[in-house]
């Protein structure tokens, strides 16, 4: 059902955890649909220096969270803001159709975290 990349990111998720004094935090989803994703950012000079995540959700939810952290690290905020859920799914070699809508929210969580950072720093 899941691609090898999904299983890899699910079983060895990258960047799990919280950042002590994150300067941006974003959360999406809710328990009723089974997915909650939380992204923590460390931004310096408009560049994402560190990202961590915590996720309650299925295999796809955890894998997309892990993948989005890998994709975001080192990017400028502008670059990160154009990262889409679709791009995250593609980086994982695709997701099962049933999971595309429900679990593919990681880029949204990242964008929320960036907006949080921007709100605090403007």
């Amino acid at each position: 059902m899941y691609t090898e990349k999904v299983m890899d990111h699910f079983s060895n998720p990258r960047n799990v955890g919280e950042i002590e004094n994150a300067n941006g935090v974003g959360e999406v989803g809710n328990a009723s649909c089974g997915d909650i994703m939380k992204i923590f950012l460390k931004v310096e000079d408009n560049i994402i220096k560190d990202v961590k995540f915590k996720t309650f959700g299925c295999g796809a939810a955890i894998a997309t969270s892990s993948m989005v952290t890998e994709l975001a690290i080192g990017k400028t905020l502008e670059e990160a803001l154009v990262l889409t859920n679709q791009a995250v799914a593609e980086a994982l070699d695709g997701l099962p159709p049933a999971k595309m809508h429900c679990s593919n929210l990681a880029a949204d969580a990242l964008h929320e975290a960036i907006k949080d950072y921007q709100a605090k720093n403007s």
């Binding site: 649909c33 309650f56 796809a60 429900c102």
Partner: protein
């Protein structure tokens, strides 16, 4: 890699004796039992023998057994066949909120076609209130459909008492006994049921065969129209090997169920107590009294963790279980059974069902009890809901 199969409520492996009995019916004795020639005669006796084996397990007469293709067909037939046959008498059906979709979706379909359905609630332990049931009966009520045992929690419903009530009010009573067969004694006379459904693949027979017990004199509209098979009650060429296999599986169930009950019960209780005593923040789903559940079923919620991800981690250790999480089924809602029991939404998403068969071993339980806590811990550490 170890393979520990603890999903026997989903499906079972075919028993060796069952497969052996079936094999001659694919190529050597392949006839159509409706044919008059040697090829047909060879197999018609086999069908009748299997019918007798099913009847013995249920304590009914073989003429009351109709072979169908699966549990879902049995439920569709029982409910739609009753609804149409008794429509002139009334349009009200009583069932529960925790039935299998084969019953629930059939009832919802009938609601779109002029029937009224009462879905009885369950309490936090997943049990019915018989006073509710009796109060729901009106002069329009034509059918009560209550499952014998719930597939997710293993809860056993008070079928004999419901049979009493139904009989007293002269209302027809159907029970989906797909999960009960072979796990607990099932006697259609004692239970006073009029219609009962079972499915082969839950008891060591193959997928693609089931049976409907149809009490003598129960008027039904056909569900499968066509040829005159099964005394005009169900059309379609008989699935001869499947039916032979179902017969043998029922005979094995009759001979072994007492012994198997004690065996799987011991394994299940050990896993249950082990999990409840070693893993924090878990909740048992279903009736706390293990006597009121199937001996083979354990359903627990591992708080803060979504069920599918738990199953996938279990799977990496070779452990096959199932979950009430929405995400495993591709639907958006978590288990309707958990919802009906009022289980908190996160706990509903984090429920896992372990279901045993007599093929499981105590070593397997030990292995799970060793592997499970670190997996739970690891996933909890990823969860935004978990605070140490």
């Amino acid at each position: 890699m170890k393979q520990i199969y603890l999903d026997n409520n989903a499906t079972t492996t075919v028993k060796p004796e069952v497969l052996e009995a079936m094999l001659p019916y694919f190529r050597e004795q392949f006839g159509n039992p409706s044919s008059v020639h040697w090829a047909g005669r060879m197999v018609s006796g086999a069908i009748e023998k299997a019918r007798e084996q099913v009847a013995q397990l249920l304590n009914c007469s073989s003429a009351e057994v109709v072979f169908v293709s699966c549990g879902s067909e049995g439920d569709n037939f029982a409910i739609k066949g009753t609804a149409e046959a008794l429509r002139h008498k009334g349009n009200h059906i009583i069932t529960t909120t925790v039935e299998h979709p084969a019953v629930l979706e059939t009832c919802e379909y009938l609601e779109k076609n002029g029937f009224e359905v009462t879905y009885l609630p369950v309490d936090k332990d997943g049990m019915l209130d018989l006073a509710d049931l009796e109060a729901a009966i009106s002069d329009q009520t034509i059918l009560i459909s209550v499952m014998w045992a719930n597939n997710e929690t293993g809860n056993l419903f008070p079928i004999n008492e419901i049979g009493e009530i139904a009989r007293r009010h002269k209302v027809r009573f159907h029970t989906d006994a797909v999960q009960a067969i072979g796990k607990v004694p099932v006697d259609v006379q004692a239970a006073k049921v009029d219609l009962l459904v079972l499915s082969g693949h839950k008891i060591g027979a193959p997928k693609g065969v089931g049976a409907l017990y149809l009490r003598r004199g129960t008027r039904m509209t056909r569900f499968m129209h066509g040829g005159h098979q099964e005394r005009n009650r169900r059309a379609g060429t008989h699935n001869v090997p499947g039916i032979v296999g179902l017969g043998v599986a029922c005979e094995l169930a009759r001979l072994n169920q007492e012994k198997d009950y004690a065996y799987v019960r011991r394994l299940r209780d050990k896993l249950e107590q082990g999990i409840l005593s070693t893993v924090p923040d878990v909740k048992l789903n279903g009736h706390p009294n293990p006597d009121l559940r199937l001996p083979n079923t354990l359903n627990v919620s591992f708080n803060f963790i979504e069920g599918e991800s738990l199953l996938l981690f279990f799977d990496m250790k070779g452990i096959a279980a199932s979950s009430g999480s929405a995400c495993t089924s591709g639907s958006l809602e978590p288990s309707h059974v958990m919802k009906a029991m009022g289980v908190d939404i996160v706990l509903a998403h984090s429920s896992v069902r372990f279901s045993f068969s007599a093929d499981n071993t105590e070593e397997e339980v030990d292995y799970i009890l060793a592997e499970l806590p670190p997996i739970v811990q690891r996933l909890r550490e990823m969860s935004p809901l978990y605070q140490r």
